[in-house]
């Protein structure tokens, strides 16, 4: 049928089917700003348009329903002064992170301000209630609306500046525009899905309906015979090799236990077959035509089942080691049927008993420590699976250009993608190019090679362009999730509160494959235990295979779970001792100059070493939180706060807190947290900086910006060193052909490693500029300095970077001026933080509301403070979601029961705490760029323990399993059986 309507002020007519949604038709018409986070469920709001002036989700509007109506997208408003003001305000308030939701947010604010020029916070929340954002934590949207409203009323309005740092520097420590913000806020082409050309084929995967089964037979003849089907791939015709999908440095500490397609399926949603077809509809039809006969096996659906004697074996192939030998007593002989497992080096595994990896170490003598204790507390904590839920699912476009495989990928690890795909396809790395596009959220899930191997192989095999994008359901069941874990913490302490021993026993569920099977659980230990000073400490880590969804990297990388278990156990010990929990933390925490011996046992893939801490800002951060929360005032009889269990109705609550009845009791909690800044001694990053002919700069950074602002950071560092402004620097990043190697965006390494490389490249270029200018000016290099903007000034004369740049490309000149920087270090830089929570708990219903959340955060020098705060807000709200709402649920057959946003609830803007505050309290690092450390990941570590402690403070019950659903709170309170 033909549908005619007004699109962005112009009459337009489109051919469409009865089932076509308005979103589909608009995307076909080239409106790229409409994004897709929920596959037409209407739950993400990223495809919002104005339909006759009302904000609606275009995926829930039949195209035919638009007949005769007026449709407006953000593309129309790109020329509209009011919207430009809103877009500018979003940039100024540092709201643009991955940018995938930003056009929808901008449109929502445009609609809001049109009907309410001075909106209240409640109106802002209502206007954005239909838009999901996983990056920002929403808090800065309120500021953006304030700025936009003020500027619309008074174009001369100047927004107040945020906190600034390092007054000795021009750009570092000050807020500058994010370099990609303009493109993203306008909804322009930026993501993989925007790169599709006519003729691109679609790849779809037949998912396993069984958690554990052999494929007895598979018949693809009918599928292959369908017109428009390009290729069908099964375990019978795919490459016969195993690899790991973990995007880690090579050799990876993850077993090679996954084949592109296997004759054994190990989780519901596992790959059974892949179809490449000319349209998605044909691909779907072909999948339906594939006949599969399964031999269904008993599934392993929990850690307890995995380690039970006689448990079903998930991997029964032959086990081999590239280096080292199998642990004594383990089985290595395969059953002749299953795929082999190859370890690059021993991980203390026993895969035929479902043990993927293990580690045990410690310092001192914990048994002696417990014997010396006046009090011993032992508690077990459980953390269920949560999903990363980037708004843009995994996505890749693979094509052949000049005989090479080119992957446009939404990835955190371009170089690991190149290496692993090359291996999977069976070609050399020089035949593969990976171009990282803008990434619509990664959060760790895109550290793995989840879609690129299959798409790359089929593109190589068929020579056709291949687009492979996960559905939201696939993102849940076949992407990567946070490992489920059970951690038992045993603490010994003397009556005076001094810890005498800490024992952490951790069991992790790595799912059907072993990517990150050891490193994630180890990070739960290595980012929690070193916070506490104790002479006797020990950990035992075991990681088990199960038939649930694959686990992997997720922001925090295990640390949130270790933090939840240890910090909550410490609070439980404080209660047992009758001490204030914060006083107990203070007595035992690390401080400036502490020697952290446990790090001898926590070398990340190499021999560890004790570290003597430099300056530690934890004391200042705790003091700040104490003051803001009026913590002093005397502890209750059992270590509770003075306000323990106070009815919310009688208390002074944050201004925008909802009215709460006497059923709601108040409680507070505080925790200290830490993370690392990359992997010292293991990883490396590189950057190249070129002086262009007009004196501007081209930064070639290997770093992978996931929306975190890494490209902005590298631009600022270059501008700072060369006396220019960030807009004088163009950043090309994450392209394996044109930029130098970088380990990728993981392990909190972006600022420290990629930024460090960029800084060194800039310093290298500065040295070359000075040397060249010195020769031209006839002065000594040591007498020259670079001044804004781009002037090399000597004692007698000066020359501009523009002049030097011009000369560098002339025949009589000095050759191109290029700086190169490599960053690697053995120095461990720890960011620390203190997070404080005030929660209200309904003692009748078990519901929990977070009223106040303060994050006091040390990230060293914040290179771009507002973006850094945005990282913290986003991480903290994510962690609130994990703590209160989010949980992947499975039935008795291993099927995920809630693989969509209607059922799996991530926080919306309505869940933002009424008093949500981030304060950066920097302690400069001696190695990081201008004293910077990492900022993002650490902030997911605080919410779970702080909220658990606050719940206990409010209602006297310890909830030891996350998420703290109302049902679990009531059970902990003894109100349910």
């Amino acid at each position: 049928m033909n549908v005619a309507f007004t699109l962005n002020g112009r009459r337009a007519a489109y051919e469409c089917s009865a089932d076509d949604r308005l979103k589909t038709v608009l995307r076909r018409a080239g409106i790229l700003s409409l994004r897709n986070g929920c596959d037409g469920e209407g739950s993400c709001g990223l495809c919002a348009v104005l339909l006759d002036g009302k904000l609606v989700n275009s995926c829930l509007v039949l195209a035919a329903e638009a007949e005769g109506r007026e449709v407006v997208t953000i593309d129309h408003y790109n020329a509209d002064p009011a919207l430009r003001t809103i877009q500018r305000a979003l940039i100024d308030a540092a709201c643009v992170q991955c940018g995938y939701c930003t056009p929808a947010v901008a449109l929502s604010i445009r609609e809001l301000l049109a009907r309410s020029p001075e909106p209240t916070a409640a109106e802002v929340a209502d206007a954005l209630s239909g838009t999901l954002c996983r990056c920002t934590g929403y808090e800065q949207y309120f500021e953006a609306v304030r700025i936009a409203a003020a500027r619309l009323a008074d174009p001369a309005y100047a927004a107040p500046k945020g906190p600034e740092f390092r007054p000795d520097l021009r750009h570092v420590g000050k807020d500058r525009d994010k370099v990609d913000a303009e493109t993203l806020v306008r909804g322009e082409a930026a993501y993989v899905e925007d790169r599709l050309a006519p003729g691109t084929c679609w790849l779809k995967v037949l998912p396993s309906p069984h958690a554990h089964a052999w494929i007895k037979s598979i018949d693809v003849a009918a599928a292959e015979a369908m017109p428009g089907v390009v290729a069908v791939l099964t375990h019978e015709n795919c490459p016969d090799k195993v690899y790991t999908t973990a995007g880690q440095g090579y050799p990876e500490p993850s077993p090679y236990d996954q084949r592109m397609l296997s004759r054994k399926v190990r989780h519901v949603g596992d790959r059974v077959a892949a179809v490449l077809a000319e349209t998605p509809e044909i691909a779907e039809a072909a999948l339906s035509a594939i006949k599969v006969e399964y031999e269904v096996l008993e599934p392993v659906l929990s850690i307890a089942q995995a380690k039970a004697p006689g448990a079903p074996v998930i991997h029964s192939g032959a086990v081999s080691y590239v280096a080292g030998s199998p642990p004594a007593g383990t089985s290595v002989e395969g059953d002749g049927r299953d795929d082999p497992i190859v370890y690059q080096f021993p991980l203390h595994s026993d895969p035929h008993r479902n043990l993927a990896a293990s580690a045990t170490a410690g310092i001192g003598d914990v048994e002696a420590g417990f014997a010396a204790a006046d009090l011993v507390v032992e508690r077990t904590y459980k953390m269920n699976r949560v999903q990363c839920t980037p708004m843009e699912p995994h996505s890749v476009l693979a094509k052949i250009e000049a005989g090479r495989l080119v992957l446009h990928a939404s990835t955190q690890v371009p170089w690991h993608v190149r290496r692993i795909v090359a291996r999977a396809v069976g070609i050399a790395e020089n035949k593969v190019r990976v171009i990282k596009e803008r990434v619509g959220g990664g959060f760790g899930a895109k550290q793995d090679i989840v879609v690129e191997d299959l798409a790359g192989y089929l593109a190589w095999k068929t020579r056709r362009p291949v687009f492979f994008r996960y559905t939201r359901e696939e993102e849940f069941v076949a992407s990567r999730t946070r490992h489920a874990m059970e951690i038992t913490v045993k603490l010994g302490a003397r009556r005076d509160g001094a810890l005498t021993a800490i024992l952490m026993r951790l069991d992790a569920d790595t799912g059907p494959y072993g990517q990150h099977c050891l490193t994630v659980p180890m990070n739960a230990i290595s980012k929690s235990l070193p916070l506490m000073l104790c002479e006797n400490a020990r950990f035992e880590v075991k990681s088990y295979y199960t038939n649930l969804s694959p686990a992997g990297a997720y922001q925090g990388y295990g640390a949130p779970k270790g933090s939840f278990a240890l910090q909550t156990a410490l609070a439980e010990m404080a209660e047992a001792l009758g001490m204030d929990q914060l006083d107990f933390l203070e007595k035992n925490r690390v401080r400036s100059g502490s020697r952290i011996d446990i790090l001898k046992s926590l070398g990340e893939g190499r021999e560890g070493a004790a570290v003597t801490l430099g300056r530690c800002g934890l004391g200042d951060m705790i003091a700040r939180g104490r003051q803001a929360f009026a913590w002093e005032g005397g502890a209750g009889a059992h270590g509770q706060s003075a306000a323990h269990g106070q009815p919310a109705a009688e208390a002074a609550l944050p201004e925008s807190a909802p009215p709460l009845s006497a059923d709601w009791k108040l409680g507070r909690g505080a925790v200290i947290i830490q993370q690392g800044s990359g992997l010292p001694g293991l990883d490396a990053a590189n950057a190249e900086l070129r002086l262009l002919a007009d004196g501007t700069l081209l930064m070639l950074s290997g770093g992978a910006d996931l929306g975190t602002g890494l490209d902005t950071l590298t631009a600022k560092l270059a501008a700072e060193v060369l006396g220019l402004d960030p807009e004088d620097v163009t950043v090309i990043s994450g392209d394996t052909d044109s930029t130098p190697f970088d380990k990728g965006a993981y392990a909190s390494s972006g600022t420290y490693f990629s930024g460090g490389a960029a800084l060194r490249a800039a310093e290298d270029l500065r040295a070359k500029v000075i040397a060249t200018a010195a020769a031209l000016l006839g002065e000594k290099p040591e007498d020259l300095r670079i001044e804004p903007r781009g002037r090399v000034v000597g004692l007698r004369g000066e020359i501009s970077l523009a002049k030097l740049g011009h000369l560098s490309v002339q025949g009589e000149g000095h050759g191109e001026l290029v700086g190169f920087g490599t960053f690697k270090t053995d120095h461990a830089a720890f960011p620390f933080g203190a997070h404080f929570v005030q929660a209200a708990v309904n003692e009748r219903t078990g519901e929990v509301k977070i009223l106040r959340y303060h994050a006091y955060q040390d990230c060293g020098t914040p290179i771009n403070p507002a973006l850094a705060r945005g990282q913290v807000y986003g991480a903290a709200l994510k962690a609130i979601g994990h703590s209160l709402y989010e949980e992947m649920l499975y039935d008795e057959r291993g099927r995920c029961l809630n693989p969509r946003f209607l059922d799996y609830k991530i926080p919306t803007i309505a869940e933002v705490p009424p008093d949500f505050r981030v304060e950066l309290m920097p302690v400069e690092d001696e190695v990081g760029p201008y004293g910077a450390k990492s900022v993002s990941e650490i902030s997911v570590n605080g919410a779970a323990p702080a909220i658990a402690i606050a719940i206990h403070d409010a209602v006297g019950a310890w909830v030891r399993e996350w998420p703290f659903t109302p049902e679990r709170v009531l059970r902990a309170m003894g109100k349910l059986s």
């Binding site: 039949l62 206007a127 209630s129 239909g130 709402y885 209607l902 049902e967 349910l976």
Partner: protein
């Protein structure tokens, strides 16, 4: 999947199509029918947006709401009982409220339909296209194929009658797990306020929201007891099922608490206010 699309010129024509077309469904706002969960269900969509009244009117005690009114319009409409506005705002996602219609909510009649519990306790009547009006409960009792097209909702909101509405959802923008609406008049009796003509409807405990006469009898004619007593009396009368959103045991306790909260709100004289403020 929408296999065929019809845009009738009148509500009567829509009714004829509904009776004659295979796999016919009425398409109002589309916020339920067009979601991906129905992607594989063949549907002949009969578009009724614009064909049904959308006005929201109050004439003294009588309230008339066109089936074509959106949730957002209902939330913004002046003069509506606070409880009805609460029910409309229970759909907390503005993008959805801008499309979802009153008629769609009645037609879908889901277990946790936001508005239906209110209409049940208001003893609303649904006028229909080309057919006699039906009470809200009568409408539910009919097989879906025989209901026809609801054109408008009409109910009485006398000053003396109070309404209250609450829901339980996991997050603000979640589909409700449980809903509860209640309505009563109050009179002084025995030194307290006694509920007269008490009506209680709940969603989430059965395939469709429904009245609970057994609960109404428990609390009719006497001063409402405290929350704990209400919970203790009500909980045994609920038979929820376990699912991904909670165990039966939890839902039973939560439903009892929800009811207690709603009855407590009902006893509050402010329950019947009709706020003018927009959300």
């Amino acid at each position: 999947m929408v296999n065929a699309y019809f845009r009738p010129k009148s509500a009567e024509e829509a009714a004829t199509l509904l009776a004659s077309e295979k796999d016919a469904v009425l398409l109002a706002g589309g916020t339920y029918l067009l979601t991906s969960q129905f992607a594989k269900k063949p549907m002949a969509a009969i578009a009724i947006s614009g064909l049904l009244p959308a006005a929201i009117e109050r004439h003294g005690e009588r309230v008339i709401i066109g089936a074509g009114a959106t949730f957002q319009a209902l939330a913004e409409a002046p003069g509506m009982p606070k409880a009805l506005r609460d029910a409309a705002l229970a759909m907390a996602d503005r993008n959805i409220r801008n499309r979802a219609t009153v008629g769609g909510n009645i037609g879908a009649d889901k277990s946790c339909a936001s508005l239906v519990p209110f209409f049940l306790v208001a003893e609303a009547r649904y006028s229909r296209v080309g057919a006699l009006a039906l009470g809200a409960a009568e409408w539910q009792a009919l097989p879906a194929a025989e209901r026809g097209i609801a054109a408008a909702v009409e109910f009485a909101a006398p000053t003396a009658r109070r309404f209250a509405y609450e829901r339980y959802a996991r997050t603000s923008c979640d589909v409700a797990v449980l809903t509860c609406a209640a309505s009563a008049e109050f009179e002084t009796a025995g030194g307290g306020l006694a509920a007269r003509g008490l009506r209680i409807a709940m969603g989430g405990l059965s395939p469709h929201a429904r009245r609970f006469p057994e609960l109404e009898r428990l609390f009719e004619g006497a001063a409402l007891p405290g929350k704990a007593a209400i919970e203790a009396a009500a909980a045994p009368l609920f038979s929820p099922v376990s699912d991904a959103r909670g165990s039966a045991e939890f839902k039973r306790a939560r439903a009892a608490a929800l009811l207690a909260d709603v009855l407590a709100a009902l006893a509050n004289p402010e329950a019947n206010e009709t706020p003018e403020a927009r959300p």
